[in-house]
């Protein structure tokens, strides 16, 4: 017994010594990098491959990619790690969590890290629509990486069957209603077998709703994230339109429509048009048993969509060497070639105009034109709803939207209540 204990202790000491020796012998900077997976496909394999490529070109930097679950899991892990003291150096987290991370004093602005002219040029190279959710108070806190927008998918077979031109999607709100009426199909006993359009409203209805408000030319919050405009008449009007799709025009399923099953509804022919993220493009391309089209969302006062998705953040508790190394890594990951590769392999929108000029991307778009729809729509995009205490304010809006969609409140009442709740939450940040 005693003998075994001594041996065990000896082994532990030797192992400890080895670990120390290994740490001292290499003069490289090591980084921990948390990332979430929010769309289908072999994302972890793609990330591991990109990191390996990076390390080949940068032998002095060691990156350890750690899959951290969903977006929600990732920020939970990061913030818990910060409170516990063991923090990663960089992570991909939702762009809308910027204010939360600033309020937790967790991240550093990129302006404090960029030094050379090349760095500064890189920082200016992204689509302005993506930067709206990445900058506040004149500083850049996040770098766009896996970003998306809402687009419209339509079933060409259903269009043909309803006597519509299968190559022309609805261009305006009124057209959407007119097309929807033709596309909605009922059986002999009056039950609907196919709806005209489906806009999912479970989980995060605010994101799809923001497409409607943007089309009605109204912003939901100010740039400082301290004020919301939920009770603006134009916001109420946008919600009225969404409610009317099912209540008045009866071309949209009543109640709350599940986000997760919406693509399946589309494949099953239960809805002829669906609104969902560009991130579903690869999924639809693989699984739709009929020819489909992808288009920009219809316009009202203007075209519009919110942006969505995740940004790179660098954490404050890293050493200066780690911060510099993290910047090098992020610059490499968002370089035009890499952004193009990432966009092609995942379905996310490549984040800089330069990425769309690479030969790989040009070939991809030529082969599969729907891939460019999200890019072309970017010029009409607004920042996704993001404020201080973001998730709580978002919930206030989500609750109001669901109350209106289920008929518990009128759109005006619902938005008035949401605005009052948001105002109460944001009082502390005025």
């Amino acid at each position: 017994m005693r003998d075994r204990l001594t041996r065990l202790l000896g082994t532990a000491l030797v192992a400890g010594g080895l670990a120390l020796g290994a740490g001292a012998a290499r003069a490289e900077t090591s980084l921990e990098f948390y990332y979430p997976v929010a769309v289908g496909g072999p994302i972890t394999k793609i990330v591991d491959g990109m990191v390996a490529d990076f390390e080949k070109g940068h032998p002095d930097i060691k990156v350890k990619p750690i899959y951290a679950g969903s977006y929600q899991d990732t920020i939970t892990k990061v913030l818990t790690a910060i409170k516990g003291g063991d923090v990663p150096q960089l992570s991909v987290i939702l762009s809308v969590d910027m204010f939360t991370l600033i309020d937790e004093d967790a991240i550093v602005p990129y302006e404090s890290l960029v030094k050379t002219e090349a760095d500064k040029a890189w920082l200016k190279g992204f689509y302005p629509a993506f930067m709206e959710n990445s900058q506040t108070g004149g500083k850049t806190w996040g770098i766009p990486f896996q970003r998306s927008t809402v687009v419209m998918y339509w079933n060409k077979e259903a269009f043909k069957e309803a006597g519509l031109d299968p190559e022309t999607p609805p261009q305006t709100w009124d057209e959407l209603v007119a097309f929807g009426k033709k596309l909605t199909k009922k059986d002999a006993s009056g039950n609907v077998t196919r709806w005209g359009v489906q806009i999912p409203s479970s989980g995060f209805p605010y994101w799809l709703f923001q497409a409607l408000t943007t089309q009605n030319d109204v912003r939901l919050m100010n740039g400082d994230g301290t004020e919301t405009h939920f009770d603006d008449p134009k916001v109420v009007e946008a919600l009225q339109y969404w409610v009317d799709l099912s209540r008045k025009w009866q071309i949209h399923a009543p109640g709350i429509v599940e986000w997760g099953t919406t693509p399946k509804d589309f494949f099953e022919g239960k809805t002829a048009i669906m609104w969902t993220t560009t991130g579903n493009l690869t999924n639809v391309r693989k699984n739709a048993p009929f020819p489909f089209g992808v288009a920009m969302l219809p316009e009202h006062a203007r075209r519009g969509t919110p942006t969505g998705g995740g940004n790179f953040y660098i954490f404050k508790k890293s050493t200066p060497e780690q911060k510099a190394a993290a910047l090098t890594f992020i610059e490499w990951m968002t370089s035009p070639e890499r952004a193009a590769q990432w966009g092609i392999e995942t379905g996310y929108v490549a984040v800089s105009p330069a990425a769309w000029e690479t030969p790989e991307m040009k070939a991809y778009v030529k082969d599969f034109p729907p891939a460019a729809v999200a890019r072309d729509q970017l010029q009409y995009a607004f920042a996704e709803l993001s404020t201080h205490d973001n998730q709580r304010v978002t919930k206030a809006l989500n609750d109001g939207l669901q109350a209106a969609l289920t008929g518990a409140k009128t759109p005006a009442e619902a938005m008035k209540d949401s605005q009052a709740e948001a105002k109460r939450i944001l009082r502390a940040y005025q």
């Binding site: 479970s202 399923a253 009543p254 509804d265 239960k270 989500n398 518990a408």
Partner: protein, 311 residues
């Protein structure tokens, strides 16, 4: 061995005086034997409970702003929080709806598979299967059962001429849908306990009752059911705890929606603490949950202990 163990296991009420006598004689040894369990209990149950209470008296620290003492402010905010009241109400409905149904169903199933029928083993296995599946998997399966139009439930409905119904997307049906999943999941688990208890009941009782001419319902009401009371108490305690403790299906199926219709207390605590990062308010809500569970457990033991026959 079994003879000497049986009384101390079956009669908790007789244990206390015996324990006290032992403490008087070999106190130190007794305490030392208790130490590992006591340390674990204190570190992972008592300390967190006390710490949670203390946290609920402070504000939430954010970045450079440290926590400061706010007294009962968090509790005041809670009383004015409509979502808190809604989640409490939902949880009450949920508990009252699922617990009796799950227990009754478990008892019926246990009586059924305890009888001499063909394919008994298979039937028992079928009833127990939902228990083996993780709640996350169960919720994902039911998500598609409930899908409007082509989901299983609506497809069955179509056979009878019913139209599509948005089960999880309407305020009036969403909570009931979650309750059905819970009953389906829990009944099989409780059935196992009833089945074990039923097999402990001596067959002579049934034979004697048959000779006396007692009917099956009379026999169940006056003999079987009273003998099952210890199991019922155990199952009831577990069911109540689960009604407040298991919210995996809320996460998967509705995330508390539509408009808080399926917001259960624990799910709200999770949202407040890990989505809104308002840890102090999360602690305040946790205290309510603790108080409810303590009150229910205490009530059950005080009330039922007098009415339960331990053999």
């Amino acid at each position: 061995m079994a003879e000497s163990l049986a009384p101390s296991v079956d009669r908790p009420s007789t244990r206390r005086p015996a324990g006290r006598a032992a403490a008087g004689q070999g106190g130190l040894a007794g305490w030392l034997l208790l130490l590992p369990a006591a340390v674990l209990l204190a570190a992972f149950t008592h300390y967190p409970a006390v710490a949670t209470f203390l946290h609920s008296l402070y504000s939430t620290p954010r970045g450079s702003r440290p926590a400061h003492f706010v007294g009962l402010d968090n509790y005041q905010a809670m009383i004015q929080d409509p979502v808190f009241w809604q989640s409490l109400w939902n949880n009450a409905v949920y508990a009252l709806g699922t617990i009796p149904a799950a227990i009754a169903l478990a008892l019926v199933m246990a009586l059924w598979v305890n009888g001499r029928i063909r394919g008994r083993g298979l039937l028992r296995l079928a009833y127990f299967t939902p228990t083996v599946l993780p709640m996350i998997a169960v919720a994902n399966i039911w998500l598609f059962f409930y899908t409007p139009d082509y989901g299983l439930i609506d497809q069955v409905g179509h056979l009878f001429g019913a139209g599509a119904h948005n089960w999880l997307g309407s305020r009036s049906t969403a909570l009931a849908c979650l309750m059905v999943v819970t009953v389906w999941k829990e009944a099989g688990f409780f059935m196992i306990f009833y089945l074990a208890a039923l097999q402990q009941i001596a067959p002579v009782l049934g034979e004697a009752a048959a000779i006396e001419g007692a009917g099956r319902w009379y026999f169940f009401r006056r003999v079987t059911f009273p003998l099952l009371m210890p199991t019922t108490l155990f199952v009831l305690v577990n069911a109540v705890i689960n009604a407040f403790r298991v919210v995996d299906h809320v996460v998967v199926m509705t995330r508390g929606g539509p408009d808080n219709a399926t917001e259960l207390l624990l799910f709200y605590i999770y949202e407040v603490a890990f989505k809104f990062w308002d840890t102090a308010y999360g602690a305040t809500l946790t205290m309510v949950l603790l108080a409810i569970l303590a009150a229910v457990a205490l009530g059950q033991f005080l009330y039922f202990d007098k009415r339960v026959h331990y053999r």
